[in-house]
C-alpha cells in the first residue's frame, strides 16, 4: 500500500455518483446488510445517472478526488426508461477522452448497481478503492490552487 509523506497509509478520496432509484438504494442495502467498504467513498445522490454532468466529474478531480465512479440502474431498468443509456454514451466518451489526455484510466469507472445489489455495491467500492490506492494520489487533473495550499 502506498504511503504518503506523513507515513500514513494513503486513503484515496472517491466520489460516487449514484442514481436515486437503483444504485443509491443498492448503497443503502449494502449499509443495511452491514457490508464494509472504505470510509473515503462518499456518495452523491442524483435522480438518474443521466444527471451526471462531466463538469461534476472534472470538478471532483479538480478539488482533489482520486477516483470518480458513477453508478446507475442496469441498462434497460432505468426508472426514466432511457436515462442510463444516454449516461452510458456520455461516460464512455468522457472516460475515453480522459484516458486520451493521460489521466490514468483506472480513476474513472461506471458500474450498474441495482437496488438489490448491496453486495455488488460494496464489492465494487472495495475494488475501486484498491485500484485507486494502487494508482496513488491523482495529480494529473488537480488544481494546484485547490490542493497545494491551505487557502
Amino acid at each position: 500500500m502506498p504511503i504518503n509523506e506523513e507515513g500514513a497509509a494513503f486513503k484515496p478520496l472517491i466520489v460516487a455518483f449514484c442514481c436515486n432509484w437503483c444504485s443509491y438504494a443498492g448503497a443503502d442495502l449494502a449499509g443495511s446488510s452491514r457490508l464494509n467498504y472504505p470510509v473515503n467513498v462518499k456518495v452523491i445522490r442524483v435522480p438518474c445517472s443521466c444527471r451526471v454532468n462531466p463538469l461534476f466529474i472534472l470538478r471532483a478531480f479538480q478539488r482533489g478526488a482520486d477516483g470518480v465512479i458513477m453508478c446507475g440502474c442496469h441498462p434497460g431498468d432505468c426508472h426514466y426508461t432511457s436515462g442510463n443509456y444516454f449516461a452510458r454514451r456520455r461516460m464512455a466518451l468522457l472516460f475515453s477522452m480522459l484516458d486520451y489526455l493521460g489521466i490514468e484510466r483506472g480513476r474513472t469507472r461506471v458500474e450498474w448497481v441495482s437496488a438489490a445489489e448491496g453486495a455488488k455495491f460494496a464489492n465494487t467500492m472495495n475494488q475501486f478503492a484498491e485500484t485507486i490506492s494502487a494508482l496513488g494520489e491523482c495529480r494529473r487533473l488537480e488544481d494546484i490552487r485547490c490542493v497545494e495550499s491551505e487557502i
Binding site: 478520496l13 466520489v15 436515486n20 443509491y24 438504494a25 448503497a27 443503502d28 442495502l29 449494502a30 449499509g31 443495511s32 452491514r34 457490508l35 464494509n36 467498504y37 470510509v39 473515503n40 462518499k42 456518495v43 452523491i44 445522490r45 442524483v46 435522480p47 438518474c48 443521466c50 444527471r51 451526471v52 454532468n53 462531466p54 463538469l55 461534476f56 470538478r59 471532483a60 478539488r63 482533489g64 478526488a65 434497460g76 431498468d77 426508472h79 426514466y80 426508461t81 432511457s82 436515462g83 444516454f86 456520455r90 460494496a122 485547490c146
Partner: protein
C-alpha cells in the same frame, strides 16, 4: 443567506454506536449558514419531529439538514415535518449517516469524520436550495381508448363502469378486433363470438361510452390530465343516424369482387359492406376503391334501394376535437407478412395458409360455413401439417426475435378441433418447443397429444413443395434425428405476430416510446407494466407485447384501474423537482428535446430580454406536468440553460466541493 438547523439522529445505537453524534452536531455549527444544531435519539419519532418544528419556529430557520437514515426512508417524513412548521418542504436535505456511514464503518473516529463530511455536503447543498412549489393541473374526466379490440373494449367498459366517459376510436368499420375473427378460444374451447359479442354490445349500449369507428387519431396536444385530440371520422358514405342496418344495400350491391378483410381474403364481399354479421355499429361502409359509383360515376343502386335515405356519397371526412384526461393505447397486432418465406410456398400454394385463415375456415360464419376444406379445390384435407414459430424466435433478418406466445396454444387447439371434427385426418405439428405456461395450458396440450393423437414433431420444416396437388413437407425430426417427408393436403403456418403498423405513428404522436420491435415500452418493466413512460398514456393489450386473451383482458382491466385512479383526481399535483429552462441562456438548439424520454420539451418563440438586449427567438419550454425530473436534458444542454430544480448544477457542485474539501 440561509439560516440552517442541523439535526443529528442517534437512531438509538444504530448511528450513535459508530458515529459521535454530538461531534457531528458541533462540527456542523461552523459550516456557513448553520445557526443551530442538535442531536436526538430518534429524530423520526414525534419527539424528534417536534424538536425540529420548535427549532424552526424558535430560530427562524430557512432550511434544515437531518443527519439520519437514508432519504429513501424518511425524506418524505421530514419534509412533512418542515411543512407543518411553515417551512417549504424542499428546504430539507438529508445526510445519510446510517446506511452510508454508521452501518458500514466500524471505527468510530473514521465514521464520525465521514458523518461530518456528509453533513457538510448536505449543508452546502441546502445553502443553494430555493423553495419549490409543486404545480397543479386540472384533470379532464374523460378517457380515450385507441383500438376497439377486446383490450380496448374491456378497458373502456371498466372505466365507464366507474362512472367516467370513454371514447373508443377504432380505425376499421367495427369494433371487435382480432378476437372477433377467432373461432374457438383455448384452453376452454368456448366460442370467441359468444364471449366477445356481448361485450361489444355492452360497449355500444353503455351510456358513458362513445364509439368512433372507421376513425383515426389525427393529432394530439396537451399533457396528462389535459390532452386535446383531433379524431378523423372517415367518410362511410352512409349516414349512421339514418341507417337502420337492414342490409338491403349490401344484398343489392352489384360490385362483389372485393376480398373480405374479415375472412382473410378467403371469400369476397360487396363494395358496400359490414365486416361481419354482428359488427358494431351495424352500419355499412362504402369501400370507395371497389364501388362502381365512386369509380365510374354510374350505378347508385344502394342509394336507390335504401328506404331510410341513409346513403350519402357526398359525405366527407370529419375532424372531431375532444379533450381527455387519460389516453389508453390498445392498438393490437397483426400476423406478420409471410411474403419473404418462400420455403413455405405461402404465396404460391393456396393450400398453405396462416393460422388466422384456418380460424376463418373452421368458423361456422366463415367462408366455408365451418367445413374444413382446402382453399384450392374445396376438398376436405386428409393430412394437415401445422408449422409453429414461423417468423417467431427467428435468427434471420425477416423474422422476429421474440416468442409470439400464443401460437403453441392455438396450434394445439386447431389440431384438436380438426381431429375432433374429422377423426380420420392425420395431423402433424412441427415445433421448436411447446410453451404452455398458463392455467390449464399444459393439460390442454397433453390432451391434443394423448387423447387426440396429434403427431408432434420436434423440428422445423425446411421446405414445402407442391406436387400433383399435394404438398410435400420436408422437415427434420430432432428427437428421432432424421429427415421426415410428409405428403399433406394442407399446411397451416403459425405466423409470428407483430404490433399493428399504425402504432408507430401513434407512438410518435404521443411520445410513447417503443422498443426495437415497435411494441410500446412500459414506464417500468416490472412495476409499471400498463403505463407508458409518458404520463397519462396507458397501455392495454398486445400493443405492449404478445399475450393471449386472458392476459389481454387482465391488462386491460389494470390499465382501466390506472385510468380510473387518474380521473378520480380533480387536480394533479406535480413533482416540483423538474427541469427548467433559463431562457436568456437557451440556444433553441433542440438537443434537450431529443433526449427527453417524456416529450416534455417543446420550442416556442419568446421575447428574451437579457441585460437590456431584446430578441425574439426560439427557446425551449418544459411542461412541468409531463417532466419527471430525470435530468437528461440538463447534461445535454451545452450552455447550461437547462437545469433541474432540487438537483441544480450549483447544488451538486457544492456537494462535490464539500466532499472534496
Amino acid at each position: 443567506m440561509q439560516k440552517i438547523g442541523v439535526f443529528v439522529c442517534w437512531c438509538g445505537s444504530n448511528i450513535a454506536a459508530t458515529v459521535d453524534v454530538e461531534a457531528v452536531a458541533q462540527a456542523s455549527l461552523s459550516e456557513p449558514g448553520v445557526v443551530f444544531s442538535t442531536n436526538y435519539q430518534y429524530m423520526c419519532s414525534e419527539g424528534g419531529q417536534s424538536a425540529i418544528r420548535n427549532a424552526i419556529a424558535e430560530h427562524g430557520l430557512t432550511g434544515i439538514v437531518v443527519c439520519a437514515c437514508s432519504p429513501r426512508m424518511h425524506e418524505a417524513t421530514f419534509r412533512k415535518t418542515a411543512a407543518v412548521a411553515g417551512l417549504n418542504p424542499y428546504m430539507v436535505e438529508i445526510a445519510n449517516i446510517r446506511e452510508q456511514c454508521s452501518w458500514i464503518h466500524r471505527d468510530k473516529e473514521e465514521g464520525t469524520k465521514k458523518a461530518i463530511i456528509l453533513a457538510r455536503a448536505a449543508v452546502a447543498k441546502l445553502n443553494r436550495n430555493v423553495p419549490l412549489i409543486a404545480g397543479e393541473s386540472q384533470v379532464i374526466k374523460r378517457a380515450l381508448v385507441i383500438g376497439g379490440g377486446i383490450a380496448g373494449i374491456q378497458t373502456a367498459l371498466d372505466v365507464a363502469d366507474a362512472g367516467y366517459e370513454v371514447d373508443i376510436v377504432e380505425k376499421t368499420p367495427t369494433i371487435g378486433g382480432k378476437m372477433a375473427m377467432l373461432d374457438k378460444t383455448f384452453p376452454t374451447l368456448d366460442c370467441a363470438a359468444c364471449i366477445l359479442t356481448p361485450k361489444m354490445v355492452d360497449a355500444s349500449a353503455h351510456e358513458k361510452i362513445s364509439l368512433f369507428t372507421y376513425s383515426e387519431v389525427e393529432s394530439v396536444s396537451g399533457f396528462v390530465g389535459n390532452f386535446t385530440v383531433n379524431i378523423r371520422k372517415k367518410a362511410r358514405g352512409v349516414n349512421s343516424d339514418l341507417c337502420t342496418g337492414c342490409g338491403v344495400c349490401i344484398e343489392k350491391c352489384p360490385s362483389k369482387k372485393a376480398k373480405s378483410e374479415f375472412n382473410q381474403g378467403l371469400c369476397n364481399r360487396s363494395a358496400i359492406y359490414i365486416p361481419f354479421a354482428q359488427a358494431i355499429p351495424n352500419v355499412p361502409v362504402i369501400d370507395r376503391e371497389s364501388c362502381i359509383k365512386f369509380q365510374t360515376g354510374k350505378c347508385g343502386v344502394c342509394e336507390k334501394v335504401c328506404t331510410a335515405k341513409a346513403i350519402d356519397y357526398a359525405q366527407e371526412d370529419e375532424i372531431i376535437t375532444r379533450q381527455y384526461g387519460a389516453i389508453v393505447l390498445a392498438t393490437g397486432f397483426k400476423p406478420i407478412s409471410l411474403e419473404s418465406y418462400d420455403e413455405f410456398q405461402y404465396n404460391q400454394c393456396p393450400d398453405v395458409i396462416t393460422s388466422l385463415e384456418f380460424e376463418r375456415i373452421c368458423n361456422a360464419a366463415g367462408p366455408t360455413k365451418g367445413k374444413v376444406l382446402r382453399p384450392s379445390d374445396h376438398e376436405p384435407p386428409k393430412t394437415v401439417v401445422f408449422v409453429q414459430c414461423v417468423g417467431s424466435r427467428a435468427t434471420v433478418e425477416c423474422g422476429k426475435t421474440y416468442c409470439s406466445k400464443i401460437c403453441c396454444m392455438y396450434t394445439a387447439k386447431h389440431a384438436m378441433l380438426l381431429r375432433e371434427k374429422y377423426p380420420d385426418t392425420e395431423v402433424y405439428v412441427f415445433y421448436i418447443d411447446v410453451r404452455t405456461p398458463g392455467k390449464s395450458f399444459d393439460e390442454f396440450y397433453r390432451r391434443a397429444v394423448e387423447e387426440y393423437g396429434v403427431h408432434y414433431i420436434k423440428g422445423m420444416v425446411g421446405k414445402v413443395a407442391e406436387e400433383d396437388g399435394r404438398l410435400i413437407v420436408q422437415g427434420s425430426d430432432l428427437i428421432a434425428d432424421k429427415q421426415v417427408i410428409i405428403e399433406a393436403d394442407m399446411v397451416v403456418l403459425a405466423a409470428a405476430i407483430e404490433p399493428d403498423p399504425t402504432a408507430r405513428s401513434l407512438g410518435t404522436m404521443f411520445t410513447a416510446s417503443m422498443d426495437t420491435n415497435d411494441f410500446f415500452t412500459e414506464a417500468h418493466p416490472k412495476l409499471r407494466p400498463v403505463e407508458s413512460p409518458t404520463a397519462g398514456i396507458y397501455l392495454s393489450g398486445l400493443c405492449q407485447g404478445p399475450k393471449d386473451i386472458p392476459d389481454t383482458v387482465a391488462q386491460a382491466g389494470a390499465a382501466a384501474s390506472k385510468v380510473i385512479g387518474l380521473l378520480s383526481k380533480d387536480k394533479l399535483v406535480g413533482n416540483p423537482c423538474v427541469a427548467a429552462c433559463n431562457e436568456p441562456l437557451c440556444n433553441g438548439c433542440s438537443t434537450c428535446e431529443l433526449v427527453c424520454p417524456y416529450g416534455a420539451i417543446t420550442y416556442e418563440e419568446h421575447l428574451v430580454v437579457d441585460h437590456g438586449v431584446r430578441e425574439t427567438r426560439r427557446v425551449s419550454c418544459v411542461n412541468e406536468a409531463i417532466c419527471q425530473g430525470c435530468g437528461a436534458c440538463t447534461v445535454t444542454c451545452p450552455s447550461g440553460a437547462m437545469d433541474l430544480k432540487g438537483f441544480t448544477n450549483l447544488q451538486i457542485m457544492a456537494e462535490v466541493d464539500a466532499i472534496c474539501r
